[in-house]
C-alpha cells in the first residue's frame, strides 16, 4: 500500500483518514460526511489497513470491538447458565458417580442433561477457560491496534488545522470577532486549567489528555490479573489443603514443611439473646439458633534449625492464636482458616471385662479410638487383645467386618478375652449397639462403661503467591477506569482569519455537556461567535425526515 499525500504536502502512512498535519479528510467518504470520526483521531490503524495474510486476518478479528463484545456476552451467558443448578463444588457428593447420581436424583431429567453437558463444572471446563483466553488475546490486540497510533497522533498535534477539519467537528462555530478575541480566549481557557498552545493565528487548548490512556491502562490491569490467575496452575504458587485437627492433637501441617499445629480446643458459640443480645431476641425466635463464633485455639510449632527432623522435643513455639472466621492465622506466607468442624467425635471408650453370669468385673480398659493399642493387661491377670479395629463399622462382607471411613463414628472391635478362667481365650465382636460372638457362646463380655468425646476443627491451609499479582492487576484496572471515566479529554481549536473571522471547534471523548459548559464561559468572556452542536442539527434533520416519512 502506498503512503497518502495530503494537499498540504504532508505524507501520511497508508490507512490514514485525517491528515496527521492539517486534519483534512483524506478519503472521499470522509470528505463528504458532515461530521468526522474523531475516535482515534483519524489515524491509520493496522486492523483497518491490512487484510491479506493470515496474521492480518487474526489481528483484525481480535481487534474488532464487535468480536470483543461478543466474547464478553458469550462469557456472561455461560456464567449465567452455570448458576441454573448448583455447581458440583456445592453439592453433597464427591465422586464422579455420586455427583452424576445427585444431579439425576435431585433435578430429574434437567439435572441429567445439565450434567451430561458438563455444566455441573462449567467454570473449569476447557471451553470456558478458552473463552477467557480469547478475551485476553482480544484485549491485547485491540489495545495495541489503537493505542500506538493514538499515542503518536496526540503527541504530534498541530495547533493549526484546516478549516475543513474544524467544520466537521461536532462543536463548531464561525463568525466575526474582535481583534483581542484570541488573547482573551487564551486567558479564560488557562483559567479553566487548559493547556493552551498558540501558533500564528490559532490556538489549541487541551485538558485531560491522560484520560485517553484510561482504557489501555485498565486493559493492562485486566491482563495482569488474568496472568496471575493462570500462574496458580503452576505448582508451588498455590496451596490448598485441608487439615482436620482434633482437640489436643498436634500434626504436621500438610505442604508446609517444618511446621506443626496443635489444637488446644475448639469452641462453637451461639447467640443467646440475653444480656447485650436482647435486641436479637425477636430474630432468634423466628429463625432459631444462630452461630456467633467458631474458634480453634492453636499453637504453631516449628522445627528448630539444628534439630533432627521429626524430633518432638526440638520444636519451638512460633505463635499461639485463636483462629476464627475472618481471622486466619498467618505465618511465613501461609494462612490457616477456620472452615469447618465436627462436634463430639468419639475419642476413647471405656469397657469393663465382666463375667456374664455373676456380672462381676475383672477390671476396666480404655481404648483410644484414634491410636488403639493391641494389648490390654488387666489387674487380675486377664488380658484383652484387640484383633481388629473398624472405626466406622458398616457391616460384614464375606464374613469380614468393614469400615466406611477412618473416622471413629461407629467403632467396632474384634477382641480376644483371656481370663484365668478361660485361658484359651474367647472371641467377641463389639459395636456400640451389640455384641456378636462368632465362635460360640462366651462366658465373658466387655461391658460399655463410658465414652470420651472431643471436637474436631476443619482447617484450611492456604498459600497463594499470586495474590500480589492479582492485587496489582486490580489496582491498575481501578486506576485505569477512574482515569478514563472520571476525567475527559477536552480540546478547543480556535483560529482567526485575516478578515477577523473566528473559527471555533471543540471535541471531547465524553461528557459533551461539560465541554459546552466550559465553552460557554469562554464564549461569553472572549465574545467568540456562537457555536452549534452539529449532532443536534443532524438529529433534528433525521427526526424531521422520519416524521415526513410517516406523514407521506
Amino acid at each position: 500500500m502506498e503512503n497518502l499525500q495530503c494537499q498540504c504536502g504532508h505524507t501520511n502512512p497508508p490507512g490514514t483518514k485525517l491528515c496527521e498535519s492539517c486534519g483534512r479528510s483524506l478519503t472521499e467518504k470522509d470528505q463528504n460526511s458532515k461530521l468526522v470520526d474523531m475516535r482515534y483521531e483519524g489515524t491509520a490503524r493496522r486492523s483497518q489497513t491490512y487484510n491479506k495474510s493470515i496474521i492480518d486476518k487474526i489481528w483484525n478479528f481480535f481487534s474488532s470491538v464487535k468480536v470483543g463484545v461478543s466474547i464478553i456476552v458469550v462469557l456472561l451467558v455461560a456464567a449465567a447458565i452455570g448458576t441454573i443448578l448448583p455447581q458440583q463444588a456445592f453439592v453433597p457428593a464427591s465422586t464422579e458417580a455420586t455427583i452424576q447420581a445427585y444431579y439425576a436424583d435431585t433435578y430429574g431429567s434437567i439435572g441429567r442433561v445439565y450434567h451430561a453437558l458438563g455444566f455441573h463444572d462449567l467454570y473449569s471446563s476447557y471451553w470456558f477457560i478458552a473463552l477467557v483466553g480469547m478475551l485476553a488475546i482480544s484485549l491485547v490486540i485491540a489495545s495495541l491496534d489503537r493505542f500506538v497510533p493514538l499515542y503518536k497522533s496526540l503527541k504530534n498535534q498541530r495547533v493549526l488545522r484546516h478549516p475543513s477539519f474544524m467544520d466537521k467537528q461536532r462543536i463548531y462555530g464561525s463568525g466575526p470577532a474582535a481583534e483581542d478575541t484570541l488573547e482573551k480566549a487564551e486567558t479564560k481557557l488557562k483559567e479553566l486549567k487548559y493547556n493552551v498552545r498558540t501558533d500564528k493565528n490559532g490556538l489549541l487548548a487541551e485538558k485531560g489528555r491522560f484520560s485517553r490512556w484510561g482504557p489501555y491502562v485498565n486493559h493492562i490491569g485486566l491482563i495482569i490479573f488474568l496472568f496471575g490467575v493462570m500462574l496458580r496452575m503452576i505448582p508451588g504458587f498455590y496451596i490448598d489443603e485441608s487439615l482436620w485437627l482434633r482437640e489436643g492433637e498436634t500434626r504436621a501441617i500438610p505442604e508446609v514443611p517444618g511446621y506443626y499445629l496443635e489444637n488446644k480446643g475448639f469452641a462453637l458459640e451461639n447467640y443467646t439473646g440475653e444480656g447485650g443480645e436482647e435486641v436479637f431476641g425477636e430474630a432468634l425466635d423466628r429463625v432459631g439458633t444462630v452461630a456467633k463464633n467458631y474458634q480453634t485455639d492453636v499453637v504453631l510449632y516449628q522445627n528448630s534449625e539444628d534439630a533432627l527432623p521429626g524430633a518432638a522435643d526440638s520444636q519451638e513455639v512460633v505463635a499461639e492464636y485463636p483462629i476464627r472466621v475472618n481471622q486466619p492465622l498467618k505465618f511465613d506466607g501461609y494462612a490457616i482458616y477456620q472452615m469447618d468442624f465436627r462436634l463430639d467425635e468419639l475419642k476413647a471408650m471405656t469397657f469393663a471385662l465382666t463375667n456374664k453370669e455373676t456380672e462381676e468385673s475383672l477390671g476396666e480398659l480404655t481404648i483410644d479410638l484414634i491410636n488403639p493399642v493391641d494389648n490390654y493387661e488387666l489387674e487380675g491377670g486377664s488380658t484383652v487383645e484387640l484383633l481388629g479395629y473398624y472405626p466406622d463399622f458398616s457391616g460384614f462382607e464375606n464374613g469380614e467386618p468393614q469400615t466406611a471411613t477412618p473416622l471413629p463414628n461407629n467403632p467396632g472391635f474384634l477382641v480376644e478375652l483371656t481370663t484365668p478362667e478361660t485361658p484359651e481365650g474367647e472371641t467377641s465382636f463389639i459395636t456400640i449397639q451389640n455384641t456378636v460372638e462368632p465362635l460360640g457362646e462366651n462366658d465373658f463380655k466387655l461391658t460399655f462403661l463410658s465414652a470420651d468425646t472431643r471436637d474436631v476443627s476443619g482447617l484450611t491451609v492456604r498459600k497463594d503467591s499470586t495474590l500480589p499479582i492479582l492485587g496489582l492487576g486490580g489496582l491498575i484496572f481501578m486506576i485505569g477506569v477512574a482515569q478514563g471515566m472520571y476525567f475527559n479529554h477536552r480540546r478547543f481549536w480556535i483560529q482567526q482569519k485575516a478578515d477577523g473571522t473566528v473559527l471555533l471547534a471543540g471535541h471531547t471523548n465524553k461528557n459533551w455537556f461539560g465541554l459546552k459548559k466550559d465553552l460557554d464561559r469562554v464564549v461569553e468572556y472572549a465574545s467568540l461567535p456562537a457555536y452549534t452542536d452539529q449532532q443536534d442539527e443532524i438529529d433534528k434533520v433525521e427526526k424531521a425526515e422520519k416524521e415526513g416519512e410517516t406523514l407521506s
Binding site: 475516535r39 470491538v65 464487535k66 470483543g68 463484545v69 464478553i72 456476552v73 462469557l75 456472561l76 456464567a79 449465567a80 452455570g82 448458576t83 448448583p86 455447581q87 463444588a89 456445592f90 453433597p92 435431585t106 433435578y107 430429574g108 467454570y123 490448598d240 447467640y271 443480645e277 435486641v279 436479637f280 425477636e282 430474630a283 432468634l284 423466628r286 429463625v287 444462630v290 452461630a291 456467633k292 463464633n293 472466621v325 475472618n326 486466619p328 494462612a335 482458616y337 472452615m339 484450611t460 492456604r462 497463594d464 495474590l467 492479582l470 486490580g474 484496572f477 481501578m478 477506569v481 477512574a482 471515566m485 472520571y486 465524553k510 461528557n511 455537556f513 449532532q535 443536534d536 438529529d539
Partner: protein, 394 residues
Amino acid sequence: MNLADLSSNLLYVAFVAYLIATFVFGGAVKGNKEGTFNSEKRWGKVAITITLIGFAANLGYFFTRWGATGHAPLSNMFEFTTAFGMTLVGGFIILYFLYKTAVLGMIVLPVALLIIAFASMFPSEVSPLIPALQTSWLAIHVSTVVIAEGILAISAAAGLIYLLKVVDPAKKSKQRFWLEAMMYSLVLVVGFVVVSSFFSLTGYEAEFTYVDKEDQEAAITYAMPPIFGMNEYVALTDGAMTPLVETPALVHAGKLTTVVWSVLVGTILYWLIRLIFRKRISALLKPFVKNVNLQLMDEIGYRAIIIGFPIFTLGALVFAMIWAQIAWSRFWGWDPKEVWALITWLFYAAYLHLRLGKGWQGEKSAWLAVIGFAIIMFNLVAVNLIIAGLHSYA
C-alpha cells in the same frame, strides 16, 4: 423512644417525603408548556428540597439503625433492599445537581418508593450476624455495591424516560410491547406489596410439615393462603386452605405461592388501571415526557453508568474478593451471588464497548440500561430468594 424506634420512624418520614416529592416533580413537569421549562424551574426547587429532606431522614434511618444493631444495616434482605432504595435516591440527587432534570425525579422516586415498600415486606427485626459477617468488610463491601447500584439504576430511569418519549404508543411494535411489559412488572411489585401487607395485617398463618429434596422432614409457615403445597405436605393449622396443587420437592411451593398471589393481584391492579384510564400505562406517562431532550437523557444515562461502573467494580469485585479471601480462604468461589455480580459487571462492560460504535447511542443504549437494571434486580431478588448460596439472606 429508643434508637430502633427512632430509626423506623425516620424511614417513614423518608417514605412520605419521597411520596410528596414524586407528585411535586410530576406536577412540575406536567406544568411545563410545550418547549419551555418555567414550571419545572420553579417547582423543581421545591421538589428537590423535599427530596433532600427525605434523603436526610433516610440517612438518619440508616445510621440510627446502625447504632441500634451495632452493625452496618446491610446484613439481610430488608436492610439491603432498603439501602438500595436510599442509594437510588442518592444517585438521583447527584445527577439532578449535574443536569437539573425534574422528569428524572418523577420516575426515580416512585421506583425508590416501590423498592422500600418491597423491602418492608421482609422481616425487619434486628438480626445477629453470623461469624462470616462479623467484620468491617461487611460495611465496606456492601455499602460500595449498593451505592454503585443506586447510581447505575439511574441510567435505567433515564433510559425509561427516553423510551417513553420515543416509543409511539399508537403504533403496534415490539418496543411498545416491552415498554408496557416494564410498566406491568412494576405494577406486579405493587401487587406483591399489597397482598403481603393484606395477609400480614390480617395475621394469616398456615403451618405445614413436608419432605424436602434431601428427603428430610421440614416445617414451613405460609404467610398467604397456600395455593401450592410443599412436597408430601401435612397441614398443621386447622381451617387453613388446602393447597390446590402439590409440587415436587424441587419446587419451593411456599415461594411459588407468594409469586402467584403477587402476579394475581398485580395483574388485577394493572387491568383496573387500564379499564379506568382506557390507556396503556406508558401512554399515560407520555404527556410528562413531552419536553424531554433525548440527547440529554442519553447523556445522563451514559454518565450514570460511567460514574457507577468504577464504583461497582471496586465494591462488587475488588472489595468482595478481598473479603472472600479473608473469610473463606479464596477470593473467588463461583458462588451464584458472585457470579451474578460478575455478570452485571460484564454486562456494563459490554454496554460501554457497544457505545463505542455508532448506532448504539440513544434508543439501543436506553434498552440496555433498562436490561442492566433488570440484572441488578435479578441479583437482588431472585438470586437471594431462589438460587441461594453463601450469600443467601432469606
